[in-house]
Symmetry: C2
Subunit: 136 residues, 2 copies
Amino acid sequence: MREPALGRHLIVEVFEADSHLLNDVQGLEQLLLDAARAANATVVKSVFHRFSPYGVSGVVVIAESHLTIHTWPEYGYAAIDIFTCGPKMDLDAAVEVIRQGLGGRLLQIEINRGQGVRRLRGDRADCKYAVGATTS
Amino acid sequence: MREPALGRHLIVEVFEADSHLLNDVQGLEQLLLDAARAANATVVKSVFHRFSPYGVSGVVVIAESHLTIHTWPEYGYAAIDIFTCGPKMDLDAAVEVIRQGLGGRLLQIEINRGQGVRRLRGDRADCKYAVGATTS
């Protein structure tokens, strides 16, 4: 039986999305925060910026890892990553929030991060939920 | 001829690395900042936190996208992502900084993000370097 991965990393390619939505820095920050919460994540911090002349980049740091988005409104395209650890995370719910919020079409790839590492070491790590020192 | 991707996304799996280094939140923040600068990136912000009892998560937001790290010191493992746009980025230099800093062994996968999107729309987008409004 395959051992569980340490991290689940969902790569989401969004295309044919609305260009105005993809250029709305506040709307996208709210969308990714909503997606994080839909996934049962604990939000630590979010950092978003808008580019000149267009495009938005943003990161939501969660206690269980991160969500990121980079948009190219001129192509109706967004690159989204959802990286989590822990069995309680509902990635499907996060993706559904994004799908509803952005419209367009989505492609997903899931990558198992750290697959095989446990076998090298033996014992079992749980997801780390308790956040200690934070820098910013 | 294949069109250029909008984003280059390097997935780096580090294993058999030193556990103490993987638990040093300040050292890892400095390491990722050094890696970002080695890649010719413009650092916008970094957010790092240490978990209890061990493990570090961090994000370096760059004008050209992001770098992230999540570590499991108990397994000598780190999951690192380097997401960039723009032809001037030197991803190999960034990876070399990480390799030197963490030791251990590295596996890399590169994913072309937004490949094919330009063909849907036609014209060419340059990488967005000029940062506008930033939230935090």
